[in-house]
C-alpha cells in the first residue's frame, strides 16, 4: 500500500465523517425550526391531538390570518419591536464603543473602580428594581413611549456592551494609534478610520446582542407601556395566545413565533461572520 493511497483514504474518511457530522448538526438545529414552520400552518386542535394521519396534513393559513386581523394587531407589534430593537442596538453600540475606548485607552485614577461598577451592574436583575424604575420613568414622562423603552433597554444592555468593546480596543496594539497620532489624526479620526476595521466584530456582537435581547424582552415592555398600539411582539403574543385558565392556542403561538423569528434569522445571518470573532476578541488579553 503506497503512502499516497493511505493519505487518500484518510481524506475520504475525513470527508465522510465531515458530511455525516455536518448533516447531523444541521438536522439538530434545523428540525425544530422546520417543525415550528409546519405547526404554524396546522389548526390548534390538530397540534394538541395525538397525530392522526387523517387530519395531520390539514394545512391552513388561518393562524396567520388570525394574527394579522385579530384584536391585537401583530403587524403593528412587529413594527414597534423593530423600532425599539434597532434603535436600542444602534444607541448601545455607539455608547458602548465610546465608553469601551475610554476604559481601554485612557488611564485615570477612578477608571478601574468605574469599570467594576459598570460590570457589577450586570449582576442586578432589573426585575428587582422594576417598581422604582417605573416610578422614575413615569416622573420623567417616559412611560407609554417607545423612546422611553429604547432608553430603558439601552441601559440594560450597556454593561455587557462596554465589556465587549473595552476588550475589543484592548486587543488592538497601542503602536497603531501612536503612529496615527504622529501622522496628526485626532482621537475621533483614529477610532473611525484606523481602528474601525479592527473593532467591527466587537461592535457587531454588541449590536446583535442588544437587538436580540430587546426583541425578546417582555417584562419591561409590559410594565412601561399601557397603550396597546405601542405593545411589542412578546407582549402582543402573550395577550393573543393565552386563555384565562392557561389554555394555549398553539396554532397562534407557532405562527407568531415564526413571524418573530424572521428578523432574528436575517440579522444573525447578516452579522454572523463578525459575531464569533467579536465574542473571542480580547479573550486572552482583556
Amino acid at each position: 500500500m503506497t503512502r499516497s493511497a493511505t493519505g487518500r483514504r484518510e481524506t475520504r474518511t475525513k470527508q465522510i465523517l465531515y458530511i455525516v457530522g455536518g448533516t447531523g448538526a444541521f438536522l439538530v438545529f434545523a428540525l425544530p425550526l422546520a417543525w415550528a414552520l409546519f405547526r404554524s400552518v396546522q389548526p390548534g386542535d390538530v397540534i394538541v391531538a395525538a397525530p392522526d394521519p387523517a387530519t395531520f396534513f390539514d394545512l391552513t393559513g388561518a393562524n396567520f390570518a388570525a394574527l394579522v386581523s385579530g384584536p391585537g394587531n401583530l403587524i403593528r407589534a412587529v413594527g414597534n419591536s423593530l423600532v425599539v430593537a434597532l434603535s436600542t442596538a444602534a444607541l448601545t453600540t455607539v455608547l458602548a464603543t465610546a465608553a469601551g475606548y475610554g476604559f481601554a485607552r485612557f488611564r485615570f485614577r477612578s477608571g478601574p473602580l468605574l469599570f467594576s461598577l459598570v460590570v457589577a451592574s450586570m449582576m442586578v436583575p432589573f426585575q428587582a428594581i422594576l417598581t422604582p424604575l417605573y416610578l422614575q420613568m413615569n416622573l420623567m414622562r417616559l412611560t407609554d413611549s417607545l423612546f422611553g423603552l429604547v432608553l430603558f433597554s439601552t441601559t440594560v444592555n450597556l454593561p455587557f456592551g462596554i465589556l465587549v468593546m473595552r476588550n475589543a480596543f484592548s486587543s488592538v496594539p497601542g503602536e497603531l494609534e501612536d503612529s496615527a497620532h504622529i501622522d496628526g489624526a485626532n482621537t475621533f479620526r483614529i477610532v473611525t478610520s484606523v481602528l474601525r476595521p479592527l473593532i467591527v466584530p466587537g461592535a457587531a456582537t454588541v449590536a446583535l446582542y442588544a437587538f436580540l435581547a430587546t426583541w425578546t424582552e417582555f417584562l419591561g415592555a409590559l410594565t412601561f407601556l399601557t397603550d396597546r398600539d405601542l405593545y411589542t411582539i412578546p407582549v402582543a403574543l402573550v395577550n393573543l395566545q393565552q386563555g384565562s385558565y392557561g389554555q394555549i392556542d398553539y396554532g397562534l403561538l407557532a405562527a407568531g413565533s415564526v413571524i418573530a423569528m424572521i428578523p432574528c434569522v436575517v440579522l444573525y445571518i447578516a452579522l454572523q461572520r463578525f459575531y464569533v470573532a467579536g465574542l473571542a476578541s480580547g479573550a486572552v488579553k482583556g
Binding site: 399601557t226 396597546r228 402573550v238 393573543l240 384565562s244 385558565y245 392557561g246
Partner: protein, 441 residues
C-alpha cells in the same frame, strides 16, 4: 379567575407582583382622591377619552364592546389596553403606586377584593342602586367587591364552571343525564358506564396539573354541600380543610376516577394548556369546565349535542364557580363620569345578550328571554340559578389556589394520584392557615 400553567418564571413574576402589591399599596398611605359620583350629569354628559384596562383573556369581547360604544356616540372615545392575566395585579398596583391610573379597570372578579380592601376603588353603591336592573345582577360577582355593605365594583361578564355532558355518549351508554348527575355516586357510576363503551372514550376528564382550573371546577362540588375550604370573615379567616367531610368525599371521587381509569391517562400531567381538546374530539362523556372551553373552535354538531348541568355535591345540592370580570373605577380616575357611561352601555341588554358569542355568560338574569334560551342553551343553567353561584371572598385566593406550589394543588395531587387523602388534607390545613395568617397579619 386568573390562572395559568405555571413555569418557575411565572411563579417568580407572580411573587414579585405580590411583593410589589404589598410594598406598593400600603406605602401609598394617602389614597388617591375618589371621583365625585354624585355630581349632576355624572355618567351622562362626559366628553373626552376613557382609558380602559382589560385582561387579555377577555379582550376579544371587550374589543367588540369598545368598537360598538365608540360608534354609538361622538362625545367619548374609549381606549382599550389588554394586560396579560398573570401580570394584571402587579401592573395595576404599580400604576396606583405611581398615581397614574386608568379610568376603568375590567378585572378578574376574584382579584377585586384585594384592591377594595386597600381603598383603591371608588364606591359605586349609589350608582348601582340607580340601575333599574340592580337586583338582577350576579350576586356572586357583587359579593366579591362588597365590604360593609358598600359595593366597589359592578359585574360585567360571567365565566362559570358547570358540568358539560356529551349526550351522544350518554345515549349510547343508556344513561339519563338528569339521573346521572344528581350526586357524586351517580356521576361515578355514569363515568364507569361511559368508559365501558370502549375505545379511547372516557367518562370524565380534568387537568390534573393546573391548580387554577382545578380550583375552578373541583371546589363547586364542595360548595354544593354548603361548606367551603375557608371559614371566617375576611381579615380573620382560617382553613376549613382537615376533617371537612365534603372535601374528603370530593377527593375520594376524583381518586376513584383516576384509579379506575375513567379519565385519560394524560390528565396526570395536563396543565390545562390543551384543556377541552379531548372533549371537543367527542371522546369524553362529562367535563367540568366553562362555556368557552367547550364551544371555542368546536364542531357545531357536537356543541348542539352537549347539555349542561350545575356541579352536584357529594349527596346532592348544586353549585358553580361564579367567575368572570368586574368593572371598577379606580380612585384617581380622571374621567370617572365617562367610565360610568361606558359601564352602563356594557350592561345594556344588547351588549349582554351578545356575550356568549365571545364565550362568556351575561351577568343580568333578565337577559334570559325565550329567544336567548333557544340560541344559547348551554349558557342558561348558571344564569337561571344565579343564587347557586359562589366564589370565596378572601385576600389570599391567588396564593392558595393559583400558585403552583400552593396548598390546593399539592393536596389535590397527593390525594388523587397518591391516595393519601387524610394526610394531604392535614397538610393543606397547615398551608391554608399559614397563608391566611400572613395575609391578615
Amino acid at each position: 379567575m386568573s390562572t395559568s400553567p405555571q413555569t418557575s418564571r411565572r411563579g417568580f413574576l407572580r411573587l414579585a407582583g405580590l411583593g410589589a402589591l404589598a410594598a406598593g399599596l400600603p406605602a401609598c398611605s394617602s389614597v388617591l382622591p375618589a371621583p365625585d359620583t354624585s355630581a349632576t350629569g355624572f355618567g351622562t354628559s362626559a366628553t373626552g377619552v376613557v382609558r380602559v384596562w382589560c385582561r387579555a383573556a377577555t379582550q376579544t369581547g371587550l374589543t367588540d364592546l369598545v368598537d360598538r360604544f365608540n360608534a354609538s356616540q361622538d362625545r367619548l372615545v374609549v381606549e382599550l389596553t389588554p394586560i396579560p392575566d398573570v401580570q394584571y395585579v402587579t401592573k395595576l398596583a404599580t400604576a396606583i403606586r405611581a398615581r397614574t391610573v386608568p379610568d376603568l379597570v375590567d378585572i378578574d372578579d376574584i382579584n377585586s377584593l384585594l384592591f377594595v380592601f386597600r381603598d383603591a376603588f371608588t364606591d359605586l353603591t349609589d350608582l348601582i342602586a340607580e340601575l333599574d336592573f340592580a337586583d338582577r345582577l350576579s350576586p356572586g360577582h357583587l359579593g366579591l367587591a362588597t365590604v360593609d355593605g358598600r359595593r366597589y365594583a359592578v359585574p360585567y361578564l360571567a365565566d362559570n364552571s358547570a358540568l358539560f355532558c356529551n349526550t351522544r355518549l350518554f345515549e349510547q351508554a343508556g344513561l339519563d343525564v338528569d339521573a346521572a348527575t344528581t350526586n357524586l355516586d351517580t356521576l361515578l357510576d355514569a363515568a364507569r358506564r361511559i368508559t365501558a363503551l370502549g375505545g379511547d372514550v372516557r367518562g370524565w376528564t380534568f387537568p390534573g396539573n393546573s391548580q387554577g382550573a382545578l380550583g375552578f371546577v373541583v371546589q363547586p362540588h364542595v360548595w354544593a354541600a354548603d361548606t367551603d375550604l375557608l371559614r371566617g370573615e375576611v381579615g380573620a379567616q382560617t382553613g376549613n380543610v382537615a376533617g371537612n367531610e365534603a372535601v374528603a368525599r370530593v377527593l375520594e371521587f376524583y381518586r376513584a376516577l383516576w384509579v379506575d381509569g375513567l379519565v385519560p391517562p394524560e390528565n396526570f400531567a395536563d396543565d390545562a394548556s390543551r384543556w377541552g381538546a379531548d372533549f371537543r374530539a367527542g371522546r369524553i362523556g362529562m367535563m367540568p369546565t366553562n362555556y368557552s372551553t367547550v364551544t371555542t373552535d368546536a364542531d357545531p354538531a357536537l356543541v348542539a349535542a352537549t347539555t349542561v348541568r350545575l356541579l352536584p355535591g357529594p349527596g346532592g345540592g348544586r353549585a358553580f364557580f361564579d367567575g368572570g370580570d368586574n368593572m371598577c373605577i379606580p380612585r384617581g380616575a380622571e374621567n370617572a363620569s365617562g367610565a360610568w357611561e361606558f359601564v352602563r352601555f356594557a350592561l345594556d341588554l344588547p351588549q349582554q345578550s351578545a356575550l356568549p358569542d365571545g364565550g362568556y355568560t351575561p351577568v343580568r338574569s333578565d337577559v334570559a328571554t325565550p329567544e336567548f334560551a333557544a340560541r344559547y342553551p348551554q349558557v342558561l343553567p348558571p344564569l337561571q340559578a344565579q343564587n347557586e353561584g359562589y366564589a370565596p371572598q378572601t385576600l389570599s385566593y391567588n396564593e392558595i389556589y393559583n400558585q403552583p406550589d400552593g396548598p390546593w394543588l399539592t393536596m389535590f395531587r397527593r390525594a388523587v394520584f397518591d391516595g393519601e387523602i387524610e394526610a394531604a388534607m392535614a397538610e393543606a390545613q397547615q398551608g391554608y392557615d399559614r397563608i391566611l395568617g400572613q395575609a391578615q397579619a
